[in-house]
Symmetry: C2
Subunit: 373 residues, 2 copies
């Protein structure tokens, strides 16, 4: 049997619902049982809560922690993790990592109030750990450079470049449509709730973090934290999106001990799949990896088509090295109109089903586990 | 019957557990049934998720959203709200608002891994809405001033004063003990997990918000958002802590339509209870209000004893105006050693029981509701 997962193409007109799709991709009894589960029934959790992983203590000078503040110590570079564990844990834990200018909110309730992937994966039997990236949202950030500049101790050029995605930039770069306010005819993003999506935007402080080597793509401060989290969970699948799409792969290169699988959800940065050396590819070949790219790849000048092609080339290299890497491109299965923010799209649970299927086929999801956190 | 709730004093040595306390304060059948509920059993939720309230769209100039970024629009001053609704909603929703330099994490799992107030209140039948303050954590913030200073368009003095509580300042100001590393003999904060508490710290950007009138105490941008949230929930109790202790009262003054009760958890700012005019006090007299202050009030130079006295004076004024305001001071009930971070203390559920009791007696918690969000 080919170790590489094949998503079966289904007719376009059959792409209307998860049930049809599940049949089309050859759903096993497990999936059928899952789908019989009433998504509107009570959510029964063994446990829920939150904790932090990682971080380091630093000494702050007088004034670093606010005007007139005494010197003292603070923790920086920790990562906030919220979790839900289903009553009956049958499957591998999944760690979800959001993209640039966003927070863990990406995997929660959608802008139009539908169920997010965090709850859906739990209802499908997976413990879910949803994080805020290091230096973002509930993970906090290091304030010292801002206060030093304010006090005149550092020049304004010492400030990090803080990025925040505008509504206009999101519309085009996240592929809601060809121009601001105009959706693609088959658009799956709930564009009528773009204002609620705008509320999710968070200034991105990753420029404050340790510069990566090779430079400028993402945040090495997150890689070890994610690898450590997978170990703490006694095995987990890491899922990254966009800015964090390659974090799971980088975590594998850092320490693959706890990583049972890696999911790479779409990047618009073509270089992100070109970064890996042959020794790194050999290590990536030790873990099942799913890449996922959505629709309208050729209709936006955002680098996503080049990224798609580069990631396909990376998949070929990983598989040539004996690995198990797969591309999931829903448009090839007749599922059209998905956006960069696929976890929020109207058919977000349909796409989730494809990912769940891949995990089931490639990682083994019927393990008995009690690795609560 | 006196409208003002009286917490019955109990012997010091009986303060060991919630069950004894509940008996001592005269627990009704409702409370006994609640306590029979197994806190370690599955958490059964009707629904959970998150949404935003409030916010406004602003136009950002070129460069305001990052070096080289095009002009565009973003949303600022929105408030992130995460919620859990128990399967059987029997009681009034509670909105929890964290304090300075912190996030909604304050009401989740404690630093030593125990159940947070958000889950506990849900297990007691209350829908819980836990927020990140405007301009904090998952609520994002307005990045434009930082990028303008970085680009030389504004002077460094235009930067907000960003405060972050050091581990040393937290130890003394949050009353973990008399000096850093030394706990009070009866300390209830889990000081052996102070490092995990340090991970919860977030730079406080409230200085970026609209200055309040009268100045400098808190964040008027939050008041209307909280009042609006209570209306959206078709009635809710608002709970504030420390920096946000008076937000519920300020929300009452803004629009009391949806506010069924207000809970003011400890402030160290003496002026916070002195701000209210007679007409404002008359309005505060229309809503049940609970003030809560913890132990070691006279042993730290942090303004908390003066705050306690000033809030007691405010309570007298509210009640003289026909209102229903109560002070809960667990030390007066024989419960000793609670810290400023009472929701994280080792006996956090014991204190929660006292608050639940006050809500039951003063707000009426047996309503049938279906106000999911």
């Amino acid at each position: 049997m080919n170790r590489t997962h094949q998503f079966t193409q289904i007719p376009r007109r059959a792409a209307c619902c998860a049930a049809v799709l599940a049949l089309a991709v050859g759903a096993a009894a497990v999936m059928a049982a899952d789908e019989a589960h009433d998504l509107r029934g009570p959510l029964v959790l063994k446990r829920q809560g939150s904790f932090f992983v990682g971080g380091e203590e630093i000494a702050a000078a007088a004034g670093d922690l606010g005007q007139g503040a005494a010197p003292g110590h603070i923790t920086i570079n920790q990562m906030y993790v919220e979790y839900m564990i289903p009553k009956h844990v049958r499957k591998v834990p999944v760690v979800m990592v959001h993209g640039g200018g966003l927070s863990g909110k990406s995997f929660e309730t959608t802008p139009d109030g539908r169920m997010g992937w965090n709850e859906y994966f739990v209802r499908r039997g997976h413990p879910v750990y949803n994080v805020d990236q290091v230096s973002r949202a509930r993970s906090g950030f290091n304030p010292t450079v801002f206060n030093k500049v304010r006090a005149g101790l550092l020049p304004p050029s010492a400030l990090p470049n803080i990025t925040r995605t505008s509504d206009e930039a999101a519309w085009q770069n996240f592929r809601f449509g060809p121009s601001f306010g105009v959706p693609w005819p088959d658009e799956q993003f709930p564009v009528e709730h773009a204002a609620e999506f705008s509320q999710q935007g968070i200034p991105d402080l990753n420029a404050i973090l340790t510069p990566p080597t090779p430079p400028a793509l993402s945040s090495p401060d997150s890689y070890k934290v994610l690898a450590d989290l997978a170990i703490k969970l006694k095995g987990a699948v890491l899922m990254g999106h966009s800015e964090s799409s390659d974090f799971p792969l980088r975590a594998v290169l850092t320490d693959s001990t706890g990583i049972k699988g890696a999911i790479f959800l779409e990047t618009t940065v073509p270089a992100r799949c070109l970064q890996f050396t042959d020794p790194e590819i050999a290590k990536l070949a030790t873990v099942p990896i799913l890449f996922e790219f959505n629709d309208h790849l050729d209709q936006q000048p955002a680098g996503v088509l080049a990224s798609f092609k580069n990631c396909k080339a990376l998949i070929a290299k990983i598989n040539a090295a004996g690995g198990n890497a797969t591309m999931l491109h829903p448009a090839e299965l007749g599922i059209h109109g998905n956006s960069h923010m696929v976890m929020l799209d109207k058919n977000n649970l349909q796409i989730a089903d494809l990912i769940l299927r891949w995990m089931h086929d490639n990682i083994g999801t019927e393990e008995k586990q009690d690795n609560d956190e």
